[in-house]
């Protein structure tokens, strides 16, 4: 239980942050104009990620999956911004 809980708490936090970043930056207009919604969306998303961590068969898979997804979401955000597709 604890291994999966920690997977939700630690890499899961970065997954949620990365996805919220992607949504916030991808919405029409600058990210500043959807600021409150982005912040408000974080906790429900993170809670779902933590709960979903317990659906993994073991802690190792949960850590692996969330770490890869976190890395991918931050990489996607960096790519979008580097190519000026979002502002």
């Amino acid at each position: 239980m604890w291994g999966r809980a920690l997977a939700g708490l630690v890499p899961g936090f970065f997954v949620s942050a990365g996805l919220i970043g992607l949504i916030g930056w991808s919405l029409p207009g600058p990210w500043q104009s959807a600021l409150v919604g982005s912040i408000a969306g974080f906790f429900p998303l993170w809670t779902f990620v933590i709960a979903a961590s317990f659906a993994f068969a073991d802690a190792r898979r949960a850590w692996l999956c969330w770490s890869v997804l976190a890395f991918a979401s931050f990489a996607a955000l960096a790519l979008l911004r580097a190519t000026a597709l979002v502002a």
């Binding site: 942050a17 970043g21 600021l35 409150v36 906790f43 809670t47 779902f48 709960a51």
Partner: protein, 509 residues
């Protein structure tokens, strides 16, 4: 819906442990929160005799503003004021002194005091609601509790999914009492799920917003989040201080301009409730007037004016606001139940009490699930949880009723915490079933005494409030009597359990 048994088992364990970790705190949050829904009425009720006094006028408010700005240089940087109205009959001004401490001034006290006048009881219950009454750290504790609550909701729905549709309206009284309690727990949990989901989200947000923003700022907002906040959350533009000075306009003028600006947006009944004024006396001084427009979702909106010329700088009103202000307004309105009419507030009150029952019954179900059916000595954990549940939950009911009794003559704060501590100690010492009965009777007696204490202290007896059409005063007294009857009925039921129930239980008499 079918789920793998291993998934069900994991989510049951998760639900059990997050529920245990957060249940007692959530009981406090919901019981106190249900009462906080009526915080306006509570202030009115506690302000003994204020129902007789005439309501403050705009001229009183102007005199208060002038005096505060003259006496307190810190208030010239930033001062907030409440218009005299339903919440407070007299205008109030508040600002932070040079050390950052808040001061509150009224026409009767121009020097300012650190206490919001005549709000002892509603402030106390609000603090219990959002911080368990613990200074500084309490709000973060409640933020974490809100997150655990969100997890409990998700895991609760997952484990209940296989029978969700079939058992939705099942409430099976009968020989199997555990089944009955489980049904009650499930039906309240599922039917009020949207309400609970909303509180899990907004509660965590209100408690942990600044921690979260500090964490997200470098991660996804390039460190520019704090600079973007004022535009997202305030209405006035926060202009730079100008080198020149300029005289301030008058409250009557600002109020008129704000109402006119709202009317131009189609909001005919915009009613200013409070204001924020910054840089008073400077040529860049600006004022933000917030008010409610009934019959709109998220009714609070604001008009920002130049405080010298009275020109409209910005508006964020229902139907004319940006995404940030619309989201913020919706989150606030949803959490505080500040939309719709009195029916919404009564619904919040009842659902809040239902939530308190949810956490109480969750603890009882944990104890019942681990009951040893063939021996009288029960597991230590079950006994400890029984003592804690009785002491903390029923003790809180006693403490809040005691605070109501003490409130009309002051002293509600120490009364509340002292009686709560005494109840927890009592429950640690007595057999749980005895303690439960005694605390419930005590809560019943104290609640029944609330209208009496109020009548003695203020002269506003129940019948006088009724005759004078003082709905708030009458409402608080009547709810206290209804609560007294409810506590009495619960005490009676508990006595029956002690007499007739299974001896193989922590609840044996």
């Amino acid at each position: 819906m079918k789920l793998k048994s291993v998934t069900l088992k994991t989510f049951t364990t998760l639900h059990t442990w997050v529920g245990l970790a957060a249940g007692l705190a959530l009981f406090v949050a919901f019981y106190a929160g249900a009462i906080t829904v009526f915080h306006h009425e509570l202030r009115h009720w506690q302000a003994a005799g204020a129902a007789d006094a005439p309501r403050g006028t705009l001229a009183d408010m102007q005199r208060l503003l002038d005096a505060v700005l003259e006496r307190h240089p810190a208030a010239r940087e930033h001062v907030g004021m409440m218009f005299p109205g339903d919440e407070a009959p007299q205008p109030i001004a508040y600002w932070q002194d040079a050390q950052g401490a808040w001061l509150f001034a009224t026409p009767a006290n121009l020097d300012g005091s650190p206490q919001l006048p005549q709000a002892g009881l509603s402030e106390l219950i609000n603090e219990l609601h959002y911080a368990l009454g613990i200074p500084v750290a309490g709000i973060y504790v409640m933020g974490i509790v809100s997150l655990l609550y969100g997890l409990a909701l998700i895991s609760g729905v997952v484990i209940h999914l296989p029978q969700l549709a079939k058992d939705l309206f099942a409430l099976r009284p009968g020989r199997n009492l555990k089944r009955y309690w489980q049904d009650a727990h499930n039906v309240i949990g599922v039917l009020s799920l949207p309400f609970h989901a909303m509180f899990a989200v907004t509660g965590a947000l209100l408690c942990l917003m600044f921690l979260l923003m500090t964490a997200l700022n470098p991660l996804i907002f390039d460190g520019k989040l704090m600079a973007a906040l004022p535009a997202a959350m305030d209405t006035y533009p926060l202009r730079e201080k100008a080198p020149a000075e300029a005289p301030l306009g008058t409250l009557a003028h600002w109020r008129g301009r704000a109402i006119a600006a709202a009317k131009a947006q189609g909001l005919a009944d915009f009613e200013p409730a409070y204001l924020k004024l910054r840089l008073a006396g400077n040529a860049s001084s600006e004022i933000e007037i917030t008010g409610a427009s009934p019959r709109s979702f998220a009714p609070l909106g604001a008009v920002a004016l130049d405080a010298s010329t009275g020109d409209v700088l910005r508006i964020q009103l229902p139907g004319a606001r940006d995404a940030n202000h619309a989201t913020l307004g919706a989150l606030y309105a949803l959490h505080f139940g500040e939309y719709g009419n009195a029916v919404v507030r009564w619904l919040y009150f009842l659902l809040g009490l239902g939530g308190a029952f949810l956490f109480y019954s969750g603890n009882l179900l944990w104890i019942e699930t681990r009951r040893k059916r063939r021996q009288e000595p029960q597991a230590r954990g079950a006994l400890v949880l029984a003592r804690l549940t009785v002491g903390v939950c029923l003790g809180l009911c006693v403490a809040i009723s005691a605070a109501f009794v003490a409130a009309p003559s002051g002293g509600e704060r120490w009364t509340c915490f002292a009686s709560w501590a005494a109840c927890i100690a009592w429950a640690a010492w007595r057999r749980p079933i005895r303690a439960a009965q005694e605390l419930l009777w005590l809560a019943a007696v104290l609640s029944a005494f609330v209208p009496v204490a109020h009548g003695i202290a203020s002269g506003w007896w129940l019948w006088r409030s009724a005759a004078a059409g003082q709905g708030a005063l009458l409402g608080v007294d009547l709810v206290a009597l209804a609560m007294a009857a409810t506590f009495g009925a619960l005490a009676h039921a508990t006595a029956r359990r002690a007499r007739d129930g299974d001896r193989h239980s922590v609840w044996a008499g």
